[in-house]
Symmetry: C2
Subunit: 476 residues, 2 copies
């Protein structure tokens, strides 16, 4: 594309309708005391500052390149706690503190082998593989068994102990590529990874392989948590890359396939860690809390850049931006970096428990944990007792958000702030464009270089804009 | 982010308003004979097919990895013509043909040097640089001169011959990072690159350096066309990377800076090349043409993946998808791969001239030349005599497009289809997310790996959906 005239701001028919309604129904907004032009100007200021002078991209560089991956219980997770605590201190917030929480401490333990063993000597083929988080290891000897492929948990039940016992169960159901929203495709496939190992163990399987959770066809295996059922034997489980899964599928069509697996994962004793929290105390309604956050832990592969370094630095940027612009919040604004989202959510549970115990009220909580991509809007969730009324309230802000091409829609907020539903505030999840997310998710490709500076910053600016509106107008 | 429940489809307040209007004003759509549910189902089919079975990503791999960059007049451009001609033949279109056009043949000529020469012996610093397209070369001796920095063309005029003569003029105005739409930032900065060299020459400058046209701060220089004024001496012009520009700016603040430049560019004799065209003849109104296209040429750096291999393969995919789905168009659907968009637009001019001569009528023309990123909608343009009426017509389709998060907005369509304005059809430009575009634009980073498969496919599906609606309903 060569030089051409600048594009005009998009101004769609529906936006027009929105503005006509806005003009025609003044009570809808002005009745709530909204000052559209002042808000519009301040939200522009937020974007201008974030796109030209903010620091979140540099913070992300440090968190990913210098600290690195941050699995719960690891020294790197401890470094991330200390780095972000110091960073929040430097922002001049009113209070910064660490909230102690015991977290699981799982270690991968090095080398991982998934090898197709042919019937004739010397013909081996190693598949790109990664142990699932929380998996047990095979021990140094490894194990070797025939593979049986299934598409669903139900298929394991149907095949029964006669067909499953002594085998390695291969969960092979792929992402549905026709889902526009990749998180939906993930939601439709991930039961295999989470519950597959114990379901297979229930029928006597010795190990589990899972097709990686991604839209992409490549050689990159994707880790992620499994959850062992209390009452079943714990068997080793690994993800293999999608290309490896395709290969294994072809081999299985031709006949019997044996696979040799070796890994060394271990669950160690729980470790003391922390949620990192900073707040600006509200000047008028300090007891109404607006929280914004992401999770500080990550998997041990890659650098946890999109998942969820991006959400952490964006959340800190929200408070930093408002502080820089001299905005004095009416309500208490709190940045919460949750520990252990990936394999236990101990941080979110502890944050909620402490908050409930203190009788706190989160008017709103906003999570960013869907990657540092161009923001498309926010998903909104909440307790059914209050949802409709409060959701109607935020819809009055649509014209202000539409200008930045942000939509509000009903949907899940996030794994961490979701725990606060009982406080009956409104829960929000930043919704970035989801198309590339599962190219990186839980892999060694989730590194700093995969995050675009402007896309990250636009997410931070979107979040700051929403927090500003929540603080200024509340939800009643 | 770990396992969570699937997201719900977004359904915003404004969409609701749109649908209420849709329900409340049945004549608006049904008066035009629209069948919302059939259209909605077919557009879903288009997306399903494109996201799961289409070939455009593989075509792009061939065009970028096997053919490579495709500068007008180069052997690679000829290979691209032949490859896409054969490809279109294989799609079973009614007619495929090559439209001859003479194109400029500029060559970079190898090595390019931009060196800061310090006052003491031996202290040199080479800046990452790339000659601007169409630039003359310095010749083997190169040239050395003092640098003077300016922000605008007007500043050159103000400084006048006394300050400019004998110098290298450094155009240093950066992108405005606060522009949400990066093409706007480009539009506000690119006059320096296009017109800067002749403006500087007018006042006696010996060469020009330009800060690269990008939002990114890095070491990657961005080429792109310059246009020499007929009545001015042609002087060499090169872009330097943004980090190099920052360095040069700092040095100039400290005092006099001399720079040595050497490059070997040449404009050769014009060369015969082709637009590649394929069409499916309309079954009811064959004289109403709906064209879809991109440009087949690219700069000689990188692989021309986003610019504009993506647009080419998407355009071919539109016809391939409709063909595959058994859709029989009423109107003539034409795929046009334009030659020489980057440095002359000879292909677009020839296409328009031939079309006008034949008395053709393009009911609509849709261009994809803004990168293979997630589509956000379409920009719509047209001759003022017809624009308002026809634009109102397409707005009736908003609810169908909104489901796929596509907006219609007024704005420029594209450098190639823009030539067809005189035929008084409607002109469309696919509008992908623009945030990353200028990380790659006209650089050696614009390679296949920079394009995400799903994002590319969603663009193709969006284009196919619009072409389907245009064909089915026309614009009257």
């Amino acid at each position: 594309m060569k030089a051409k005239s600048p594009q005009k701001l998009p101004f769609s028919f529906l936006q027009l309708v929105g503005l006509l309604l806005f003009a025609g129904l003044p009570h809808a907004l002005s009745g709530q005391g909204m000052d559209y032009s002042a808000d519009s100007a301040f939200i522009k200021q937020i974007h201008d500052y974030t796109l030209s002078e903010s620091h979140c991209y540099d913070w992300l560089r440090h968190l990913t390149k210098d600290v690195g991956s941050r699995l719960s219980g690891s020294p790197e997770a401890a470094a991330a706690v200390e780095y972000t605590r110091q960073l929040m201190e430097s922002l001049g917030l009113d209070t910064v503190w660490l909230q102690p929480v015991m977290v699981p401490h799982w270690v991968r333990g090095g080398e991982e082998v998934v090898r197709i063993v042919e019937s004739f000597e010397g013909s081996h083929f190693d598949l790109p593989a990664t142990s699932l988080g929380n998996s047990v290891g095979t021990g140094p000897e490894g194990l070797r068994a025939e593979v049986i492929s299934v598409q669903t948990l139900e298929e394991v039940e149907k095949l029964g102990r006669a067909r499953i016992e002594g085998k390695i169960v291969f969960f092979d159901r792929p992402f549905d590529q026709t889902e526009y929203y990749t998180f939906r495709a993930y939601g439709k496939a991930v039961d295999q990874r989470v519950w597959g190992p114990s379901k297979a163990a229930e029928y006597g399987a010795v190990a589990v392989l899972v097709r990686s959770m991604t839209n992409s066809t490549d050689d990159v295996p994707h880790t992620g948590t499994l959850v062992y059922a209390e009452d079943q034997p714990k068997i080793p489980a690994l993800a293999i890359s999608t290309r490896a899964a395709d290969l294994l599928r072809r081999q299985l069509k031709e006949g019997k396939v044996e696979v040799y697996i070796r890994n060394h994962c271990k669950m160690l004793e729980p470790t003391l860690s922390y949620n990192v929290i900073g707040e600006i105390r509200g000047s008028e309604k300090p007891d109404e809390i607006i929280a914004v956050g992401g999770h500080l832990d990550s998997w041990d592969v890659g650098e946890g850049a999109h998942d969820d370094g991006a959400g952490c630095v964006q959340s800190m940027q929200v408070l930093a931006t408002l502080k820089h612009l001299g905005y004095r919040p009416k309500r208490t604004l709190r940045c919460v970096l949750f520990m252990n989202e990936e394999n236990g959510s101990a941080g979110a549970k502890e944050y909620q428990a402490v908050s409930d115990r203190k009788g706190e009220y989160h008017l709103a909580a906003l999570e960013s944990d869907s990657g540092g991509f161009t923001p498309r809007g926010f998903r909104v969730d909440g307790h059914e007792d209050i949802f409709d009324a409060k959701y109607a309230r935020v819809q009055a802000w649509q014209p202000l958000l539409k200008h930045w091409r942000l939509d509000l829609s009903k949907g899940g907020s996030g794994a961490d702030v979701g725990h606060l539903k009982g406080q009956k505030g409104l829960l929000f999840g930043l919704e970035p464009d989801s198309q590339r997310y599962f190219d990186y998710h839980h892999t060694d490709r989730d590194v700093f270089e995969a995050v675009n500076k402007r896309e990250l910053e636009l997410g931070a600016a979107a979040m700051t804009s929403l927090v500003y509106l929540l603080d200024k107008y509340g939800l009643n």
